[in-house]
């Protein structure tokens, strides 16, 4: 039938060896980077400078490294949030809203001077976690009780949180001294300390702790195994007595809390106040990183640093070659698509088959006695 002499045949794999998974991920990333390079060269970046932009500027000097690691903190946290939810097939598209609510919670503790100064920071952390948890929990309750699709609810709650923050910044919380729509600057004891002279702040420890906690949760807790069961088959889970609703709600609240911590880390570690730009542009990177890290907390941590590096590279490309902002998003998209596309190698064994089978040549079959003696 076919005009081509060969055709590709995909046959589903049963068991997938571990090395193949790793190789596929590495292959996908490498291919994505090649695509990025071609794309950048097409936009006028000299091929020789690419290595410079990507490696030296991002990881090779302290300013680049500083920027990369600082950005990686919030990216790790929001991506962990998405990854946790992914494990029970709950689509958390609302990390921005949860981050906003975390930032608002932390700022509220500061603004209303809740607690003595030495308890201020823990209280801010707690308020941020609760703010994020409530925001994601609402979507989980709506899903369990009303069967509302969490893709829609989490997404729309982003806007609610954003507008709530705007309302506060243009109203009650507006800075009284200069009337800018930002909250008053936090006193020193409400700011996360930085590593001498760098922008990099102690939020790193929050990100590390969150990664470690999520890793334990997924790998060693009872909760981790049961959530895997829920993700695989909700009906069977219910039949076997797994509290499906409770696991859904707990996961969503934990994930929201982690996003909320990202909000705290930004207001307390980077901005030192609530601004209008605290929680912008986190939705897409959070999903991309969670996916690149295969929803595995340690993988997410590594992927977050890599994507943060991409942002740093994008900043320098912007400065040197006047490339638009979206260049970073485009590169992220390249990586995401190639990694997703390479999944086909995990799922299928790919073979090449001749379309027209060769005419079967009669093979001389030795008589039965001869075969018997041969063996």
């Amino acid at each position: 039938m076919s005009v081509l002499p060969y055709r590709l045949v995909l046959s589903p794999r049963l068991a997938v060896p571990r090395w193949l998974r790793a190789a596929t991920l590495v292959g996908g990333i490498a291919f994505g980077l090649i695509c990025c390079a071609i794309f950048l060269i097409a936009f006028g970046v000299p091929a020789g400078d690419l290595a410079n932009q990507f490696i030296l500027y991002v990881f090779g000097n302290s300013a680049g490294l500083d920027q990369t690691l600082t950005r990686a903190i919030s990216l790790t946290l929001v991506a962990l949030s998405v990854a946790l939810c992914l494990r029970i097939r709950f689509w958390n598209i609302g990390v921005e809203g949860q981050l906003w609510m975390g930032a608002i919670g932390a700022t509220a503790v500061s603004f209303y001077h809740i607690g003595p100064w030495f308890l201020r920071m823990p209280l801010m952390i707690g308020a941020a976690a609760i703010g994020g948890a409530v925001w994601c929990g609402i979507a989980a309750v709506a899903k369990i009780r009303l069967r509302a699709d969490e893709v829609i609810t989490t997404l729309l709650l982003n806007y609610v949180a954003y507008l709530f923050a705007q309302d506060l910044l243009y109203g009650r919380w507006r800075n009284p001294t200069d009337q800018f729509p930002v909250s008053p600057t936090f006193p020193r004891y409400e700011q996360l300390p930085t590593f001498g002279g760098w922008h990099l702040h102690y939020g790193v420890f929050i990100a590390l702790a969150a990664t470690a906690f999520c890793w334990w949760l997924c790998r060693y807790s009872r909760f981790g195994l049961l959530s895997q069961a829920v993700a695989e088959n909700r009906t069977a889970s219910r039949a076997l007595g797994i509290p499906v609703a409770r696991i859904t709600l707990t996961t969503a609240c934990l994930a929201g809390a982690v996003s909320g911590l990202a909000g705290f880390s930004i207001v307390s570690g980077e901005e030192h106040k609530l601004t209008q730009f605290v929680g912008n542009d986190y939705i897409f990177p959070s999903i991309a990183i969670a996916y690149l890290g295969r929803a595995n907390p340690v993988g997410v941590f590594i992927a977050a640093i890599a994507v943060a590096g991409l942002y740093t590279a994008g900043d320098s490309l912007k400065a040197f070659y006047q490339l638009p902002d979206t260049v970073v998003v485009t590169m992220e998209a390249f990586l995401l698509m190639t990694v997703a596309a390479f999944d086909v190698f995990i799922r299928y064994r790919i073979g090449l088959l001749r379309s027209q089978p060769k005419a079967i040549r009669a093979k001389a079959v030795p008589p039965a006695e001869a075969r018997g003696t041969g063996a």
């Binding site: 009872r222 069961a229 088959n233 069977a236 076997l240 509290p243």
Partner: protein
């Protein structure tokens, strides 16, 4: 029956000189399971030929071979006198064979006309939408259907969708129609109309093969009847009016074979599970349960016989708490059962579902993880904060050796297990710890003889330990071999349970086919 119909019946009993389909000595095995073991079927033009048999008797396998879904291992298949071995369904369609499946093969979001064009556009030679519209309108008028060509298929009723299927098959040029339980999904009045239609299509000169479980369909419509049992043809094309319902029932369930009793468990005194007038709502593709009452004692196996699709899955799901009853009560050890499946489990209820991967196992989890899930999900989990792979492996190893689960280690994904080993895995998990009520559904389905015996022995052993076992089974032999009492589930109604000594195959066969 009217005189006219009687006359027509006599006229259609013409000599079988014009044979539409001849299948002889057809064999087919799937792995170790033999589906067809020398089946015969001969259908002539102009007749409605009923094909009867229990679940798993081989009706579907035989028809799938005829319709080109797979090939036979051995035997003769002839269509209109020509040897036929179809490589794919399309080839069978081209040869004029059309199958109307029980679960319709239509594209929901498309309109009726789009479905028809998609299925038979090129074959019917339609070059435009209008040509298809004219052809459809003509055929629909001829058959007396009123279906809007622009209606979306997923917004049609079940009986309308069935009519679209029939239009699809006929417009595609089918001369031999296979109807797979066409009345199963229809209400009484619609069913009668559908049978009339089958009659009418045969009178037009086509051959209609009617797969059915209902004796009434046979007596009302069919000219001849073929009965299959265990992959063989036991009645080959007898004139339908010459065989009685009792004969058909006996042929289907095998009245002559001896009952091999393996069960000895007698009922204890205490009631383990009680259902009182339990009813459930009927949704799409579901059979509503109608006022089911039963009493299961400790230490007995109560067999629930019946053909699949009569409420079996619904009964299991209602008992384990996945399906909320509309009326009636479920009592576990004399107390009303909690609404939560988890609480029922803690109250000693275990289950083995028929569909092992929908309700029983988590395919992408390992054997060890599957075994650990219930141990971790109750109110008193065995471990809370440090669930290691080593711990899970350790407890799995014991189960794997005790239950002789082959084909995988503790770290193998459950989806890679064969049917028998998957079933042993479920048993290993469900039999862990103390339990007092066990509900099983077709526990030996798809298993080879050895695996089936192993599973059945586990059930007997459980009953001997004092567990009340409710065995819902679509295999009458299994019910007769294991149960101490038996009831029949038919159309969502349950007959009164009787002791196994006080009934026989013929009686049960009648109940299975005709209901209580």
């Amino acid at each position: 029956m009217s005189a006219a119909a009687e006359a027509r019946r006599a006229e259609t009993a013409r000599p079988a000189s014009t044979i539409a389909v001849r299948m002889a000595g057809v064999r087919k095995a799937f792995g170790e399971r033999i589906a067809l073991d020398g089946a015969d079927l001969t259908v002539v033009w102009g007749e409605v030929h009923a094909l009867l048999g229990e679940n798993g008797a081989g009706k579907s396998s035989l028809m799938n071979i005829l319709a080109g879904f797979y090939g036979a291992d051995d035997g003769v298949v002839e269509v209109a006198g020509q040897p036929a071995a179809f490589a794919e369904p399309r080839a069978a369609s081209a040869a004029g064979i059309g199958m109307i499946h029980q679960h319709f093969k239509l594209v929901g979001p498309l309109t009726v006309l789009e479905n028809l064009r998609l299925a038979c556009g090129p074959r019917a030679g339609w070059r435009s939408r209008d040509a298809a519209l004219v052809a459809m309108a003509g055929m629909a008028k001829d058959l007396g259907f009123t279906i809007k060509p622009d209606a979306r298929v997923d917004q049609l009723s079940v009986s309308e969708q069935q009519k679209v299927e029939i239009l699809k098959v006929l417009l595609g040029g089918a001369r031999i129609l296979i109807m797979d339980e066409p009345t199963a999904v229809l209400a009484e009045s619609e069913a009668a109309a559908m049978l009339q239609l089958a009659r009418r299509l045969a009178d037009d000169g086509r051959a209609v093969i009617l797969i059915t479980h209902k004796l009434r369909d046979v007596s009302a419509t069919a000219d001849r009847v073929t009965v299959m049992r265990a992959g063989r043809t036991v009645i080959a094309g007898a004139p339908a009016r010459d065989v009685t319902s009792a004969e058909l029932a006996r042929a289907m369930v095998g009245g002559e074979t001896d009952i091999l009793r393996r069960g000895t468990a007698g009922p204890g005194e205490t009631v383990a599970l009680e259902l009182r007038a339990l009813s459930t709502a009927g949704a799409e593709h579901d059979v509503p349960l109608r006022e089911i009452s039963l009493t299961l004692h400790s230490g007995e196996i109560l067999g629930i016989a019946g053909l699949g699709g009569n409420g079996q899955s619904e009964l299991l799901e209602a008992i384990i708490g996945l399906r909320t009853p509309t009326h009636g009560d479920i009592l576990l050890h004399g107390e009303p059962a909690s609404a939560f499946p988890a609480a029922r489990r803690e109250h000693g209820l275990r289950f083995v579902p028929a569909d092992r991967f929908r309700l029983g196992l988590f395919g992408s989890l390992t054997l060890a993880e599957n075994l650990a899930v219930p141990a971790l999900s109750g109110r008193q989990p065995e471990r809370r904060y440090w669930v290691t792979r080593a711990w899970m492996r350790g407890r799995a190893r014991r189960s794997i050796s005790d239950y002789e689960i082959a084909g995988g280690t503790a770290d193998t994904q459950a989806r890679l297990l064969s049917g028998g080993n998957a079933q042993k895995l479920i048993l290993a998990r469900e039999f862990e710890g103390a339990f007092s009520v066990l509900v099983v559904h077709s526990p030996a389905r798809g298993l080879d003889v050895r695996a089936a015996a192993a599973v059945q022995n586990r059930l007997l052993a459980a009953a001997a330990r004092g567990v009340g076992v409710l065995m819902i089974s679509e295999d009458l032999d299994e019910v007769l071999a294991l149960s101490s009492r038996v009831a029949v589930l038919s159309h969502g109604r349950l007959s009164a349970a009787v002791a196994i000594e006080q009934t026989d195959r013929a009686e049960l066969g009648r109940l299975i086919l005709e209901g209580a």
